[in-house]
Subunit: 487 residues, 2 copies
């Protein structure tokens, strides 16, 4: 380990899960997988076991202490943020392998990776591979969006193997149990939600804000309704001529959530699917309803975050974050990108990382990644890597811009290694060490080049940093020289 | 060609050069390469042939008319912007194959691709390939940064084959003519600049603002001086105990530039090379000097743009653009990225596209791309593709955010094609048509799938856009249904 890395090894480690996401049972070099069994033993059978419930009674839970250490923040601050709803700790009592994280404006910005198969393609093995890859590259949470195959079995495997919180969209599994949308019922949905809560899902997307009266507001949109959950519920409401059943039965969902400590991720079923549809009435009226539901969930001490768009031009991103904070009482904001242009399918990890970075700077707490394959197909393992790295860049840039504790230290450490031509140190500190080393190897593969005072970009004669170093060394001898010409 | 593409084929075409950048002599399907020979015939031997000179005398040149058409702006607006220095048209009289472009806040945001070999690697054939690739993917200008091999020959081949303006950094070629930095002289530099101007270089980076008294201000920087030109001049000034010769002889450079119409790209030799060094005294005092030099160049009616950082945290990007406008009298700003974090070598096309998009939104006029290989090695052809696409995304997102004429039409056209499941139309409208099609082919390769009302991401049952379409179709029959539930 190089001197540069040793000095600041904490910088990268606090960004990553304490273990590397290898499956339980495999020796991953970090010792046994973390277990919360002791932490949750006393909670079994409790009527309300949410982090918010403990926080509001003045209790600093083991989970709060744990995330305080990871964030380098005072445990009492964590408790008070969770109590007022500005921070959540998604930590289902039954997800004992979990290494908890904090999502909220006082914590570092987090990123989510979506995995899960579709009914067209993918299997359990490749989904687990995507999970491990996402965690290795630094995803802080993962959502299992499986819509086909043996959904409960895939989910159980994912929870069992995941040190990061797992989220789901229960209506997808419910859909797999019926022939058509019209057959969906509240009993089926509540039963599905309860089963997932008992399995250990840490947060669930519930599209309870898609009210019947908002659907016509999408009639003139360029891309209509692009949320799968939103489109399913719109169809169901039209057929049954009834209000959204998730809205009507919201308190029953809260009752399930508080028994296991599941967080709401209040879904934005009417989010815009194109720049043309951004910031329209459908989007903002749904947001108003999500604000109302936030207060209802908080009456049950159930933790809440709010999902946000989608596709938003750059100049409207910050105002979307500010509006969410105002309307939803500062519940953490969980944004999907947003993409700042629609014209680059195949590169939407980049179009959306721009929006995500700006959203993070404005105060969004969790950034849902978008992979290069978005709009074109189901992502494979390499798409997951590219999506995760693009979003870690966005989240870290936001942390730096907001001046979060210790964030800039990582940049400074890497830059010092760069200036010292400590190539190995630079690789080790890089967000993707293997990737950086491989690119350097392409033109200067020998190990001796890892000490070279130049690279192939400029060559030895033109290396500005070598010239600066020489200049400084020369200046150190006749000390008056450079100083004399100053001021 | 699909209906969607036909409707808005102008959208993409106005973004691209009129020809596709194939070498002269090859039939590229656009007929003969463009030639400015007639436009410049009368200028031969003129004492001042700059666009600014004509503009200030009230003349709308053929170049101004040409760029007005490309930008969909009034030629008189172009003339007045060029006259006041807020816009430049880099168009060396000898670069007759050029298809001129406008760089300035009233025009669409432009992007530059750096090509050129280093003394370590690369050759003329691969540099021409990079040029053609950069132009095909949409670079608006290219800089030949060659530092080794037969530099004049490489440059001539690039100019002869380029419909886009070509920029250089003449001190690189001068360096190749001497044994060591100390041997550089103003005569050698002026001779090199004159030869390049006669060859047809459209703009040149001149680091005339790196004053001797600013160099000590970099002493405590984390990454010192990272501009090659800046480092060379600092070394030269230290050895000779003299002021920067490019500053002392600035008017002589203006004399050469006005005879051929070469634009200044006033170099930022003291730009920050890390977040730690951003916005320091060295950077801003040099900027003050660039503002002074701008006025001097304008006294000669020589066109100017200003180069800017580099590495800047997100929250300081917009203020950098605003400060440049104030200090440099609204001369167009040409930024390198900036990277918003230092921690992701291998992905610096993304770290910098975030900064570039924000800079473009704030008013930067030309964005110099950074490839994934930055800091690690010389980019290859695929790095060029990735860099160009990332920067077109940044520039287009900025155009949309600033509400520039027609920019959003492209997004809307692609989104309409997407909603209509017009897959081929979506690919054709995409920034990288082949790339988008190839990703779709990975999971649904058959041509029949290009009419499918779903993709492998969600599968047929879960396609929200199909559901919305069905919902709208159903709503159209019993028309009262959806309307009744509204309001």
């Amino acid at each position: 380990m190089s001197a540069n890395l040793r000095e600041c090894s904490h910088l990268k480690l606090h960004e990553l899960p304490a273990t590397d996401g290898s499956p339980a049972g495999h020796d991953n070099g970090h010792g046994d997988p973390h277990s919360r069994e002791e932490w949750v033993r006393d909670r079994i059978g409790g009527q309300n076991v949410t982090q918010m419930h403990y926080a509001r009674r003045g209790i600093v839970s083991p989970e709060m202490t744990y995330v305080a250490q990871r964030e380098q923040l005072d445990p009492e601050l964590i408790r008070s943020e969770v109590a007022c709803g500005r921070m959540i700790i998604p930590a289902n009592m039954h997800h004992t392998r979990l290494e908890p994280i904090a999502i909220g404006i006082e914590a570092r910005c987090k990123i989510n990776a979506n995995i899960g198969n579709s009914s067209v393609t993918s299997d359990i093995g490749s989904e687990l591979q995507k999970l491990q890859l996402a965690i290795r590259y630094g995803a802080h949470t993962a959502m299992d969006l499986s819509t086909g195959g043996n959904i409960p079995e895939i989910r159980q495997a994912i929870i069992d193997n995941s040190p990061v919180p797992i989220g789901t969209v229960p209506i997808y599994e419910a859909m797999a149990k019926v022939e058509c949308i019209e057959e969906l019922s509240i009993d089926l949905l509540l039963e599905t939600i309860a089963a997932q809560a008992e399995q250990g899902v840490d947060y669930m997307t519930i599209h309870a804000g898609v009210l019947r009266e908002y659907v016509p507001l999408t009639a003139n949109r360029v891309t209509g309704i692009v949320s799968r959950g939103g489109a399913i519920l719109a169809q169901w409401m039209k057929h049954h001529k009834k209000q959204n059943m998730l809205y009507d039965h919201f308190d029953e969902i809260c009752e399930i959530f508080k028994k296991h400590d599941v967080c709401f991720s209040l879904g934005d079923g009417l989010r815009p699917g194109s720049l043309a549809d951004a910031n329209d009435d459908a989007q903002f009226r749904e947001l108003d309803t999500l604000g109302e539901l936030t207060l209802r969930a908080w009456e049950h001490d159930v933790q809440v975050m709010i999902e946000g768009p989608g596709h938003v031009p750059m100049h409207l991103v910050a105002m979307n974050v500010e509006r969410e904070m105002e309307v939803c009482h500062e519940a953490p904001f969980y944004v999907l990108g947003p993409l700042v242009t629609d014209v680059a399918p195949g590169y939407d990890h980049i179009t959306s990382a721009i929006g995500a970075a700006i959203a993070g700077q404005a105060g969004a707490s969790l950034l849902c990644y978008v992979t290069p394959k978005e709009h074109l197909g189901l992502p494979d393992a390499d798409d997951v890597r590219q999506g995760v790295i693009a979003y870690r860049i966005a989240a870290h840039a936001a942390d730096v811009a907001r001046g979060r504790q210790g964030a800039r230290d990582w940049d400074d450490a890497l830059s010092r290694a760069r200036f010292q031509f400590d190539w190995n140190g630079q690789f080790e500190l890089a967000m993707d060490p293997e990737g950086a080393r491989a690119m350097h190897d392409e033109t200067l593969p020998d190990e001796t080049h890892k000490g070279a005072r130049y690279c192939s970009m400029c060559g030895p004669k033109f290396c500005s940093m070598r010239l600066t170093t020489d200049l400084r060394a020369a200046a150190a001898e006749p000390a008056e020289e450079l100083a004399a010409s100053s001021g």
